[in-house]
Every structure is written in C-alpha cells, then in structure tokens.
Point group: C3
Chain length 341, copies 3
C-alpha cells in the first residue's frame, strides 16, 4: 500500500484546465490546478493555510488564486500575494505548497515528490497523441472509478481475462497462445505477444484491414511506465509482410490514483485504419466504454470489496504463468516505494 512520490503523475488532460480552478485529488492530496495569464499550468496545494478552505472554490485573479472564504491570494510559487485586511503587509508564513508541473503530449504532469528531484526527462513519452495528421483519434476520455489503481493495472497487464469478461468484444482466445516476451528497461516494462500466421481477428476484418480468409501475423504489445502510464498496440499484417502494410489500434491508458480505493482513468484510442471515419471511431469508443465500465469496473470493484482493505501480498494470491507482467508491475512499484522509505 502507499504510493510512490518521486514520479510524474498525469493530473489531467490539458483540455481539462480551462478558465476555472480545477481540483484533483492525487495519492490522497488535494491539488489545485489552474492556468496563469500566459496559459502556463500552475499546481498548488488546494488547502488555504488560514482556515483550510478549498482554494479551488475561489477565483483566479491574474496569476494568483483568491481564497473563497477570506480573500487571501496565492501565486504560482504558493506565496501569499495579497491580504485584503492588511494590504501593505507581506504574510511570510502564509504559504501553500507548490508542485512542479509540465504540459506535454496532451497531459498535465505533476511531480508529487521532492521538488528538487523533478526531472522532466523522466516523463514517459506519448508521441502518438500529437500525431493527428497520422492517426485517427477518439475523444479524450475520463472515468472516475472507485478502484485501486494497482487492481486496474493487474487487469490491463494480463489480457487473458478478455475471453471470460469480454466474451462478445475483446475476448480473444489467441491471446493465450503465441509467443509472449516480457522485459524491463529501468522502470519501464514491455510485454509483447506475437501470434504469427493465424486467422484474421474480427476486429481487423470489420474495418477491412485484412479479409476474412486471410492468414495474418498478429501483435499485442504493451508498455508500462511507473506508476500508471500504459500503452497498448494491437495490430495485424498479412503473414510475413511488414507491419507498415497492415494496420493497428493504439490506446493510451493513464491511471491516476486518487487514494487507495479510487482512481481517475483517462484514455484515448487511435488507429491507422478507416481514417477519418466517425462511425468507426464511435463504434470503437462504444466498445471501450462498455468493456471498461460494464465489465471490468464491476469485476474489479467486486475484487476490491472482497479484499476488504487487506494487502494483496498478505492475501497470498495464486500466481499463474499469465500473471508475469502484472506481478512485475507490482514488484516495480513496491521497489520504488521501498527506495523512498
């Protein structure tokens, strides 16, 4: 249990920060996000140090936020910039925590640990999200889920549950076959499944990436960066042909822990096939929404309820061969936590 602090969390889609103060709870902390006059993101502790009012209930005044209760104003560094009852005096003690924050690849990234260790080069890259000329994109999706983020990662890292939990959509018996290769580079994990020379999956026959009778090479490739940044690519090409001749569906899944029992799950789908076709986009969005909300979420919620606050390892889970990637994710997070302690 507990959370890694010295890492970048996705606090929001950039598009979520408009003209109003934005409240996020991340690893149990209340955060205020807003844009300054130049559009730059600012992240502060959301709790006024005077009488603990939530600052996001206040209003943005230039590059400052004004407390809704007694009107103290705090700037991007978290210093009190104005006290309406004593306007000439600096309030040295009136200060809120300021968090390093970066906007990149459509996301607002926040560093929850020691500010001096915040290194932008550690932000995982999602270059696809900017390549709107190459890919056809879904909307930017947001789900608030009453789920521990590690239980969602367990689900994402092992796609074998598809045939039982998503039998009519994402179910895919070949996910349990083929060659699986899982490896780690630093805190990044790859887990790639390769199914050469098989039948064409329905997902790619429908949009005519391949034809029903074709033999295809099929890949399922995932990449995870601590703590909650996940990329999945599923694609096909005719047997033996280069991938570039086939097509794929990519998806970004960004998990932000609210606390031990809740998460925000942001995702986006993009693809090479059926370019600009809104009906295909809507159909894919509907499949994802149904699978995540109606199938995964109730199952993970049931698991979480059954765990009743107990630690995963203390419950001595049975570990199957297919759990390898999920177990590596948990061990990586445990190691990072231990290093901080």
């Amino acid at each position: 249990m507990g959370f890694v602090r010295n890492c970048w969390y996705a606090a929001a889609w950039g598009s979520e920060l408009r003209g109003e103060p934005f409240h996020a709870r991340i690893i149990g902390e209340h955060i205020l996000l807003f844009r300054g006059e130049a559009g730059q993101p600012i992240a502060l502790s959301d709790t006024c140090p005077h009488r603990f009012a939530p600052l996001h209930m206040g209003k943005i005044v230039g590059d400052t936020i004004e407390c809704p209760y007694h009107g103290l104003r705090f700037n991007a560094e978290g210093r009190c910039a104005h006290n309406p009852f004593d306007p000439g005096k600096r309030l040295g003690a009136a200060r809120v925590r300021s968090y390093p924050v970066v906007e990149r690849d459509r996301f607002i990234w926040i560093w929850m640990g020691e500010p001096e260790r915040a290194d932008e080069s550690l932000i995982p890259d999602f270059p696809w999200l900017n390549q709107i000329d190459i890919y056809t994109m879904s909307g930017e999706k947001i789900m608030h889920q009453p789920l521990n983020y590690k239980l969602i990662l367990d689900n994402l890292m092992d796609l074998t549950h598809g045939q039982f939990l998503h039998p009519t959509t994402l179910g895919n018996e070949s996910i349990a076959t083929g060659t699986l290769r899982t490896w780690q580079e630093g805190n990044r994990l790859y887990s790639n499944r390769w199914n050469p020379d098989g039948a064409a999956p329905t997902l790619f026959v429908l949009p005519a990436v391949v034809q029903a009778g074709d033999r295809v090479d099929y890949w399922n490739e995932m990449r995870w960066d601590a703590p909650g940044a996940y990329y999945l690519e599923v694609g096909v090409t005719l047997t033996g042909r280069p991938r570039a001749e086939g097509g794929f569906l990519g998806s970004v899944h960004m998990l932000t822990p609210v606390d031990e029992a809740n998460s925000v799950y942001r995702y986006l789908l993009f693809r090479t096939f059926a370019p600009g076709n809104d009906e295909v986009t809507k159909a894919l969005e509907a499949i994802a929404e149904h699978a995540f909300r109606k199938e995964d979420e109730p199952m993970i919620a049931a698991v979480q309820a059954r765990m009743a606050g107990r630690d995963f390892w203390e419950m001595q889970p049975l570990i199957l061969k297919t759990d390898q990637a999920g177990i590596l994710v948990r061990r990586t997070l445990d190691r990072l936590r231990a290093e901080e302690a």
Copy 2:
C-alpha cells in the same frame, strides 16, 4: 461478540438453490452455494484464490464453478479442476475451502467449523416442515435484516414485548401470567408457558378453533437450538380437554448471522385450523410480516444503533425475571464460544 463455528447454520431454504450460483455471507464469510449435476448442494468459499474474484459471479459447469475473471474451475472439494491457460497441468496450490453441507427439512445446513467435527446428527429437527398432509403452510419467507442475530433472539425468547410493540396483533397480556417453565437439554432450550382455564384468545376465535365465550387452556411453547434455530407453538383447547381436540399455530424462525450487524431471518408458519384456507394463510402472513418488519425490526435496529457496537454485557443490562430464557440463550452461545477458544 464473535460467532460459534462448530455448529450447523441454515444457509438457505433448499428452494433458493436453483440453476444459478447462490451467494451467502455467513458469520462474516463469503460462501458460494450451488447444486451439482445430481442436485446435491455444494458449498465453497466464494473467493477465487487467484485474484479474489467472487466465484458466484461465474458459471456452473457440471459439478464445478468457473471463475468469472480468468476461468479457473473448482470442484465440490474446492480443488482446481481446470486452468484454461495451462490445461494439462494440475494446480495443487489453487484451492478454495469446501464446507460440509446437508439438505434436510427444507433447509440447506452448513457447518462453518472444523470439517472433521461435522456431525449430521447435530442438525436440529424440524419434522413439521415435511408434513404437508397434516398442516397448512405459509410460504417460505426470507428477510434480510440489518440486525445482530442475538438481538433478534432476545426479542423471540421473551414474548412480553408483544403488548407494547405489537398491541393490535400479537399483544397478549396473558403472556405475562400463567405458569412459565424454562429448561435446558444440552444446547437446546425449552420455555413453555401454560395458561389454564382462561378466556379464548382472539387469534383462535376468529378461525373458530374455539368460541368467544369459551374457557380454554392456552399454551405458548418455544424451543431454541444453538445458534439460531427457533420453534414456537401457540395453541388452545377447551379447558381440561386434550390438546389434539384444540388447534395450534406453529412457526419456524431460522436466524443466520451475516456479520455482527446483519442477519438473514427465514420463517414459515403452519397450522392445524382452517385447513387449506388461503385467506387465513394470507392474513397470518400479513400479520407476521407487519409485526416483524414494521414493529420488531425498527425497534431492534434502534437498540442496535444505541448500543453503537458495544458489548451487551459491558453495557450492564438490567435483567428482569421475564428475561430468563433470553439470558440462557446468550449464556449458552457465550459458553460454546468459550469452548472453541
């Protein structure tokens, strides 16, 4: 607080086990119940040892249950009978707890303690429930109540509350008079009240068991078996005549603790009078439903809220003479708990 384990609990009416997996929470444990191919009841821990999914959300496959999340199957002994990702291999470690279970007198009985001590001869007998040729029966009733089962037993073991809590239905001032004899045989308790040569109670005048002006002998007899099996018989006959010439209303009340704060209360009424008369059956069902749901349950819930999780004995209850049977029930349960500790 806490529960006796080495005893038989009524897990369900037999009729509750149909073609679907059935979930019960008993003394805090999640139990899966289902019928095997021959109709035999099977009881397993409801939590998959792999990722803790509730097994009752899965499906019955022959004499096994298939986990809804990743498809592991468990048989009546709780052993893993199938792993879809490694079909040839036995999963010795993949095991759920199996509970001794017996179907008898319309109930499914489960043994929550050490399996080797499960002795079917300890199941309390309810022969009346099978005598459909002798008695006219109500339906099999089920109430899920947010009540500790001992507080319900306090209520059942002392009927003097009737005149205050059920003044228009079960209230009966003569319950506080007559001769009361309470005795114990092992873990079974009897408490019989005998009111000879009195006025005829309305309950038996209405269905014409006796007439309004008659003098009658009147009995109220209860039997309790640990932990929650209760039988009550209320009857009249003309003064000095054999009971068989009069008539009685019998009722079975079966309490199954869900946890410290919740119970399932199953009951059934049967009678000798007005045989086959559906209107009388419906009237009696309505009286019981009203008394249990609208009068007893709110009062016991208020008591439970007022206790606020504190132990009954630590609150130093005032004990009246009329509490004798209820106190014996609590002491018996305390003794059985102490013997197990």
Copy 3:
C-alpha cells in the same frame, strides 16, 4: 476536541417541547426531553437500562416516560416507577440519568456536567427574546448542520468573510475598517466594531432607518458565552446622535453540538425598525436562510471535510489579526476543557 460538560447548553426552543417525547443528541449523548403534567421540562438519558431501547420512542404517562419495548416507566428523577410484569416491586437498579434543566428566555437549557454544580445564574441572559412589545421578531429557526460547532463559531466571530462569501447580502467592506475592541469578562467575550461618520449601509437605507445620502455612525457588536450562545447587534444612527434615535437588527445564534461533526443551530432575528412589517420580516429571514444555508454551510462543510478529523491547532492555522475574537473563543473552550480534566 471533546466538549465542556459543566455548562448550560440550549437543548431546544421551549416551543419544540409539545405533547410528544423529544429526542436530542448533545455532545454525543442521547437525551429525552418532555414536559410533565405541570408543563415543567424533564430531561433524562434516552436509553432504557433494560434492553437499550430509545425512550423517546415510547409514550408520556403523567410525569413518567414508558419504554416502547417492554413498558418500564421512569419518572423525572430517572427512577423506575412501574414494571408491568412485577407491578408491586420497586426496581432499585432500574435507573436512567436525569439532567438539570431550566426553561428561560424561550430556550430549554440543560446542564451536561455534574448535577450538583448546576447553577442557574450561569445561564446567559437573552432578555430581548421576551420583549415582544419592543421588537419585531422573526420565527424561531432551527438548522441541523453537519458541522463542528467551533467551525461555526469561527465563522460568526469574524465577519470579514462577508465580502467574499456573502457578496450580495451581508458583504460589507467597512467591517474590515473602523475601530475594533475585543475583551473578555469571565467566560463571556465581547467584540465591538465602531465605524463613525460613514456612508449609510444599504441594510438600513432600504427600511428607511436612515436616508441614502446620510452620514452615519455604524456599530457591529457581538457577545459570546461558552459554549455556544452568541448575540449580534448591527445598528446605525445619524453621525453624533444617540443610538436610541437610530435603529438596529439584533440576532441570537444558539449552537448546540450534537457530536464532533454535527450541530443544531437555532437563531432568531429581531429589530427596532419597520415594526410589525411582515414583508421586511420575511425578507430578513430569507437573507439569513440563504447566507447560512447556501453560503456559510457549504464553505464550513468543505473546511471540515478538508480537516478530515484532524485537530485545529495541530494543523497550525495561519492566524490573522482579524481572527482575534475567534481565537479567544477557542482558547476559552480549551481552558474550560482543561479545567474539567
């Protein structure tokens, strides 16, 4: 945290005690209030010592309360006056706590501490509430609020929040100017603001106490008695003229802690101006209702949620000059608690 016990709490408006038993939870204790045959208020512990039924669910019989579950009756001293199952016998052990209680200035006052220290002369006086021939009164208002009473006191003791939280009604920038004098007499605190020779506030121009162009002397005066009795008077008169020539709005705010997270807030407004004018009364009631319910309550609830059960002092609040009165209130309550410990 915790509560002062040896003091008078306002348990109810006198008008709340009618013919039915009245339940109040005060500093965590369940209290039964009712009037005896002569109309005198009686306060007992609300929990029957037999089976812990809430006595307020029972019925008043003369000067006694009858338990709703088994019919025991308790008198004003809390002694058992009747046991229906053993009518001739005194039940010495059957006793509930009796609380000193006094009706004065429209309120029912209860002493929660050691009965022998209950001194009626310590009840704070609210003479205005009886002067219906002098003042025009609002109704007797009652709000059940999910708020710690000290957080409500913080709000009442510092009116500078008005311009931020009540900008369209009670907001008043001059509250931050003028002369503020705060002093203590025993456990009573006064905090008076004096704004001489200024523009006429809208609140008093609308009902024509003064005219729009007038120069006025303006006072805001508050009085607090531990633990939750607060009086506020806001008035104007033409510059240099006696107060009696002007007019004022008085208000009584009575806070009764239910527990650490809940309070009952009773209030009443009265005034010298627009006598007998129901429309003015309704307008003032609407302003107060809106300010307390729609502006103060959500803000204080947000603060309370943000504090998440932590102690005010341990959170090391920033203290502004304008917090002086509120801080004195908290220190007085802390001192009274410490003296009792």
